[in-house]
Amino acid sequence: MTQTLMRTTITTPTDREIRIERIVNAPRDRVWRAYTEPALIAQWWGRGNKLVIERMEPVRGGHWRYVEHGPNGVYGFEGRYREVSAPTRFVRSFEWDGMPAHVAIETVTMEDLGDGRTQVVITMQMHTPEERDGFLQSGMQGGMDAAFAALDRLVEEE
């Protein structure tokens, strides 16, 4: 397998927080749309897995729910919008079906870098260190799904 350099930075500023940073090579308005329009979200958020956008109401108080159909199972992610300030920032609650009622607060900010690129910063704020670790492990599950998918592609190519 080819090891490519990762351009996404993950830090844990506190034991209840995960911070994700990435410079996306596209203008901010388009990144914002990719984050808020169901037809666009479905094409990338699931990392190649089928993603059904069951609800998407990016307004204060609105609900969202995505259901990811991975090779090892179907799991949903959902929450409500606390704040939506297009095209720079939204804040929403974030729950994963694997850890029901363990609610994280996800804040996504998009900074226009002025050269056609956008810096996206996501913070996930949890209530307890155990929840934080649980979310990191949910990433582990997702990471494995991606790994399986990659493996399948390799196998198909042979």
Binding site: I18, W44, W45, R47, M140, G142, M144
Partner: protein, 108 residues
């Protein structure tokens, strides 16, 4: 190189909240099946099942002395925070790469 099947067993084992709780409890010290059953308010049979799954994933070992079966962590340690972060990073990177690819191919 880790074996996917092996990892899958471990993920299956830790996908259950009770089993994560058991691992956390054992992180503070060894415990017998009956002690675990009591702290998780479960039957002995139910707890034996959970411990069995953790044992198959090699996240827990048990040792029977007389009538008491003692459980402890290992031999395989659950991924530490650094390993979780690394995998989480890989997932997020994959997600952002796909976002970028989408924006690239839908460029006007």
């Amino acid at each position: 190189m880790v074996q996917y099947g092996d990892l899958d067993t471990a993920f299956g084992a830790v996908s259950d909240p009770t089993r994560r709780g058991i691992l956390e409890r054992l992180g503070h010290g060894d415990a017998s099946i009956s002690e675990l059953a009591e702290s998780f308010d479960m039957t002995l049979t139910g707890m034996k099942k959970h411990v069995g799954v953790l044992e198959d994933a090699r996240l827990v070992t048990t040792n029977k002395v007389g009538r008491v079966r003692t459980c402890r962590l290992g031999p395989r340690r659950l991924e530490n925070e650094a390993a979780w972060i690394e995998r989480f990073q890989r997932m997020m990177d994959d997600r952002f790469n796909r976002l970028e690819a989408l924006l690239e191919r839908t460029k006007e």
